[in-house]
């Protein structure tokens, strides 16, 4: 049997089945869950590679489990935006590797949380993968729940003092947003009688009858996904949750899980642009403004944080602002920039959280004041951190640059130069923070002996960090590749708008 057509099903199933078996293999030995999770992610990554290769060759394609063609069955649909599975697998794989030593430092893990931790990590990745590749609205919701539930638990699993509280806050907002999405799916189903995204789009095209349900559904979907993506003012759950989680989890949450909201929004846009039911100018304007506020506010709060992880969490809000703004601009450049930033920000943020995690692992401190002088003690980690830092600011030739450039261009293309300014000043604010960080890490005398005597991170942490850091550079230099890759997808998304 040739596996070629089945990768799409396998990529969804592998992590889930792997997760289901993780508690089983945990019976064998304390270390097996790590290796098991690692090999599961390896298989998944292989599947992701095959899928990305296939879309390079053929363009978007579908798979129908059960053989019931859409709209009667569930369709898995792989388009350019789904290629984000590549980065999900990569970061997931590295996060597992990173965790192998990291979890030793968490007291709670000495008492049997380890297998559950890996199970949740796999479930989280599996949920995200399912979410990105499904072509069915309700299936989207189901996978969203898988990844959300595991995400809530992963926040709490580290045992930080406020972890459970942060997780609960995250859960409450996440659950409400999920409900909004489900409600909206109900509305769309009520007026179209179908759940398949493409079919919903087709049936809404030239829809006769009251449009109010579709409009309400649109509103709820946007609010729901914006909450998942932590767009201002629905971001309140994010900083605590991402700061309280164990660092590899923070990398996954900040780099990937919030992006799920954005991908959800892209799917929503696909429906509503495609059906041409509404003129979305006002919504887009709202999104642009919210994006702009997120950028500035996130960056502003980030600047004043002493806690490194908290500051990274705020910078995530800022970066989500970029993406949302790019989407809202609804110009080719803007949307391309936003879509590529989904990929690149995942790499960058994971780099940063890994590096910070390694530093915390070695020193036990997490504020700038405490970590003075750590750059000299842990040179390689600090170099990776610096690379991530300049990437997130968007300095060429790193990964963060081209996307922001494109989003800024998109702002000018949409004749909204003001937002170009906002974008650049947001980057500037973040830049100030990183200068503070570099200053503290390299040019101040250590205040703690642990910091001064720290050794560079162990290989299992250093390797993921450095791999990602070098990818930040490579993706910057080869920035054209993702841009051209995503372009047909964006063109298809925006085609109904004309031009």
């Amino acid at each position: 049997m040739h596996l070629w057509p089945h990768w799409l099903a396998l990529i969804v199933l592998t992590p889930l089945v792997g997760a289901a078996l993780t508690p089983v293999v945990a019976l064998i030995d304390r270390r097996t869950p790590t290796w098991w999770a690692l090999s599961t992610m390896t298989v998944t990554s292989f599947a992701a590679t095959m899928l990305v290769l296939r879309i390079f060759h053929e363009g978007p394609f579908s798979y129908v489990p059960g053989g019931w063609t859409a709209p009667y069955g569930i369709e898995l649909h792989f388009d350019e935006f789904s290629a984000v599975v590549g980065v999900i697998c990569l970061v997931g794989w590295l996060a597992v590797l990173f965790s192998s030593r990291y979890t030793d430092s968490l007291p709670e893990f000495a008492r049997g949380r380890t297998p559950y931790y890996y199970t949740l990590l796999l479930l989280n990745c599996g949920g995200m993968i399912g979410f990105t590749v499904t072509g069915d609205l309700f299936n989207l919701f189901v996978f969203m729940e898988v990844l959300s539930l595991s995400g809530y638990a992963l926040v709490a699993v580290g045992g930080e003092r406020i972890a459970e509280m942060a997780a609960f806050k995250y859960l409450l907002m996440g659950a409400i947003s999920s409900l909004l999405v489900l409600f909206a799916i109900g509305f769309l189903y009520g007026i179209t009688g179908t759940l398949n995204i493409a079919d919903v789009t087709a049936r809404l095209h030239g829809f006769e009858g009251p449009t109010a349900p579709a409009a309400v559904a649109l509103g709820m979907l946007v609010v729901g996904f914006a909450t998942k993506a932590a767009v201002f003012p629905l971001h309140v759950w994010l900083p605590d949750a991402h700061a309280a989680a164990p660092s590899p989890v923070s990398a996954v949450l900040s780099g990937l899980v919030v992006k799920v909201g954005v991908i959800g929004m892209i799917r929503v846009y696909r429906i509503y642009y495609g059906s041409g039911m509404f003129d979305l100018t006002v919504l887009n304007l709202v999104l642009i403004w919210l994006g702009a506020i997120s950028i500035v506010m996130g960056a502003f709060f980030a600047v004043f944080q002493d806690d490194v992880k908290l500051m990274l969490a705020y910078s995530t809000i800022s970066n989500i602002g970029y993406i949302v703004m790019g989407l809202g601009l609804a110009t080719t450049y803007g949307v391309i920039g936003a879509s590529v930033h989904i990929f690149n920000h995942a790499l960058i943020k994971a780099t940063l959280f890994f590096a910070v995690g390694a530093i915390i692992y070695r020193t036990g401190y997490r504020t700038l004041t405490d970590l003075r002088g750590v750059g000299r003690a842990m040179p390689l980690t600090a170099v990776a951190l610096s690379v991530g830092a300049i990437s997130i600011v968007g300095i060429p030739p790193t990964a963060g640059f081209l996307c922001k450039w494109y989003i800024a261009l998109g702002a000018f293309q949409a004749d909204r130069p003001f937002f170009g300014f906002v974008l650049i000043f947001g980057a500037l604010l973040i830049f100030i923070y990183y200068i503070r960080m570099v200053n503290a890490f390299y040019f101040r005398e250590p205040v703690h002996a642990e910091v001064a005597e720290a050794k560079d991170a162990p290989v299992s942490m250093l390797l993921p960090t450095l791999v990602l850091a070098s990818l930040c550079l490579i993706m910057g230099i080869l920035g054209r590749v993702p841009l051209t890759f995503i372009e047909p997808g964006v063109a298809r998304l925006l085609a109904p708008l004309g031009g």
């Binding site: 309700f138 189901v142 729940e145 539930l149 809530y152 638990a153 709490a156 003092r161 406020i162 459970e164 509280m165 997780a167 609960f168 859960l171 409450l172 659950a175 409400i176 999920s178 409900l179 489900l182 409600f183 109900g186 189903y189 009520g190 759940l195």
Partner: protein
């Protein structure tokens, strides 16, 4: 408009329930209470989706020999089945977190927790 609402009385009821739930989630201070509110919201959405599949003088979509139509749509029912499972999962995790929070801080009132943080 009002007639439309009257004919769709199931829908209206679920909207009302949804809003009551929303009110509880936002207004109440106690985390368990908040989550009771969320459960009300969830059931409201389920009621809404079930109502979508209802058909006039309908039968359950079970095709045993003597059954005759019209049949209610089976699809919304499957959605709600899944939804209920999701809801109970969320509830279980939320209550677990609440228990842990109580162990750590000795309270589950949101404002007191905010001060303790």
């Amino acid at each position: 408009m009002l007639t439309a609402l009257w004919h769709n009385i199931d829908y209206v009821a679920s909207v009302v329930l949804f809003c009551i739930g929303l009110y509880v989630v936002i207004a109440k201070n106690n985390l368990i209470k908040k989550f009771l509110g969320l459960n009300i919201m969830e059931t409201a959405v389920f009621a809404f989706i079930i109502a979508l599949g209802v058909i006039e003088d309908g039968q359950p979509p079970i095709m045993t020999g003597d059954a005759h139509g019209p049949f209610a749509s089976p699809l919304p029912q499957t959605l709600v089945l899944t939804g209920i499972v999701v809801a109970v999962s969320t509830t279980a995790l939320a209550l677990t977190l609440i228990i842990r929070v109580y162990r750590r801080f000795g309270t589950i009132e949101a404002d007191e927790l905010r001060e303790l943080e």
